[in-house]
């Protein structure tokens, strides 16, 4: 049981290293809520700010439209501005309105009139303010339309021959799933991929640099026992980081900041109330199993890279692209619905994990797909660990000559 002696020692050693714990557990625990809090608040604040005290320039000879807009306290009409286009471009006002000079005359003659709106779509606040202005003008439009129809003796309802009704057939779980299926697998993958990195760097490249690996390999502990122990430690750290991220996410979901984030649409129009109902006992078992396999796979890759690296810095450089490797599949499947997934999605490394998590989150439980994901991931684990073992036994990589 020499591997167990090494595992215990590695954990004691890592536990005393603040940097490792900060990267593995503390950063995900603090970062996830902080991120949603900051983004949620920023979005809400930006939306609120853009909907009130809107500086606007109006060219309206009749004065009728200006009065109508001015009746809404959200607008601050700026007087004395010449050249409204330039004023909007220069940011002196957020919106500009030009009303056709013959407005009053045309309205009376029941002719169409043109109102031109100026805005700057590169400014998010201008876009939001534009929505408020359009609503205000639509109300004027409806009012004028009602007056005209009244003069003609026509009821306004008769102008809407077809009334369209929209019925949402998605369950709350499915609606929430569209957002959750993106964020949860991404969080888990990122955590598993990055959580074990500090340990992997420290346990091989770091030990090489400090000369402790050489001393360790002169003991009766076989190189196989040493590698197995390091694999266990690195994959455990990755899984711990994933659990910490998920816990932080679950906590964040309960906060107001998160609700603001999702209800403003920035969170993918979650629509329904977000919850972890898909976390049934059965799903938790498979999620944990897949996460552990993924953790071992990443640990194998990380230990292989750490073995090849001459030292700490080189190992860090080799490992940084792993973050992108973990992120790409999540983005690739972003637009793919849980029911549109193909067979290959459950076989390609990392993509398969995203795909099966997506199904779980949407309430789909397909044993065939689960089997494919577990089976293929075991093969990838074998390949990653095989490469790590091969490299760890190469003298040229383990010892400095």
């Amino acid at each position: 049981m020499q591997w167990w002696i090494i595992v215990k020692k590695e954990f004691i050693d890592l536990f005393r290293d603040r940097k490792t714990w900060m990267t593995t557990v503390l950063i995900p625990v603090l970062l996830v809520p902080l991120l949603f809090f900051i983004i949620g608040n920023a979005i809400t604040k930006s939306s609120e700010e853009a909907s009130k005290d809107i500086p606007i320039a109006i060219e309206d000879a009749s004065g009728q439209v200006q009065n109508w807009i001015g009746s809404n306290s959200a607008f601050q009409i700026k007087s004395g501005i010449t050249g409204i286009e330039k004023a909007v471009k220069d940011g002196n006002v957020r919106l500009g309105v030009r009303v056709e000079p013959a407005f009053q005359e045309k309205v009376e003659k029941m002719q169409p009139v043109t109102i031109t709106l100026f805005f700057d779509p590169s400014d998010n606040r201008s876009l939001i303010s534009m929505g408020v202005l359009q609503n205000q003008l639509n109300m004027l439009n409806q009012q004028l339309l009602g007056e005209r129809l009244g003069k003609l003796g026509i009821q306004q309802q008769s102008l809407t021959p077809i009334e369209i009704k929209e019925i949402n057939l998605s369950t709350d779980e499915q609606m929430a799933g569209s957002f959750m299926s993106l964020i949860i697998p991404l969080l888990l993958l990122m955590a598993v991929a990055t959580g074990g990195m500090p340990a992997a760097i420290d346990l091989v490249a770091g030990e090489k640099e400090r000369g402790t690996l050489e001393a360790l390999l002169t003991t009766p502990a076989s190189s196989k026992a040493v590698l197995v122990a390091k694999l266990i430690v690195v994959s455990t750290m990755g899984c711990l980081s994933a659990i910490a991220s998920l816990g932080a996410f679950a906590f964040t979901m309960k906060t107001d900041a998160f609700q603001k984030f999702t209800t403003t649409g920035e969170g993918g129009n979650a629509g329904g109330p977000l919850n972890f109902d898909f976390f049934t006992g059965q799903n938790i078992f498979y999620i944990l199993l897949i996460m552990i396999l993924l953790g071992i796979m990443f640990a194998g890759v990380q230990l292989a890279l750490s073995t090849v690296a001459k030292g700490f810095k080189e190992a860090s450089t080799y490992m940084s692209p792993l973050v992108i490797v973990a992120m790409i599949p999540a983005y690739l499947l972003m637009q793919t619905g849980a029911k549109e997934l193909e067979i290959y999605h459950f076989i390609v490394p990392i993509v398969n994990v995203i795909a099966i998590f997506k199904e779980f989150i949407y309430g789909i439980f397909n044993l065939g797909h689960i089997g494919m994901v577990i089976g293929s991931t075991i093969v990838y684990v074998g390949i990653a660990v095989g490469i790590a073992t091969y490299l760890f036994r190469k003298e040229s990589f383990v010892f400095k000559h």
Partner: protein
Amino acid sequence: MIKVDNLEKSFKKKDVLKKISFEVGKGEVVGLLGENGAGKTTLLRLLSTLLTPSGGNLRVAGFDTVKQQEQVRKSIGVLFGGETGLYQRLTARENIYYFGRLYKMPADQMEARLMELARYFSFESFLDRKVGEFSRGMLQKVAIARSLLHNPEVILLDEPTTGLDVTSAHGVRKLIFDLKEQGKTVIFSSHIMEEVERLCDRVVMLHNGVILYDGGLQNLFEKEGTNDLERIFMSRIGGVV
């Protein structure tokens, strides 16, 4: 105790050791002399099973270093120069116990041996302090204690006094004397001729992967007509005397 027979070691296309042969008997203290890159550290790594020979045979304490690695490792205590091979975040006691457990030593035997070594090296009061706070000399003492914990028959020391102050270096030299008294076999590499003269029964001079001289110091001095080991070494390797 050690038998090196036609030993070869190459890294990629570079031959670091070229068919070298020598034997070391029980209780002998042998000094490995050579310039940087002569093959001293490679030889010690081969003896400690860290490297596999490219050719030839190597036996330590009667065991083959390739086929009987575990037995060889149980028989040797190793200290590589420059690096102490200690875990900075662990205490001296934890570092030593860790290695003791890997040697499958019983707890009571490990504790008794630890206290014996701690007294010998005078670090009893530092046992429960993290080694990251230690001086270079203190680190070296703990590292040597770690390599001697399982009471090995063969001790391999790679430049054990490099970077040490006078007192610490003296302590290491005293240890080698004492190990000799206890009948242990010691092979150590060094650049310090004076140290080799004082401690060794025999020297093995390595140069470009071959042995230039293997034998007793007195023989060498008589043969060369001088007692100046540095002068002899320089003349043998073809350097400016």
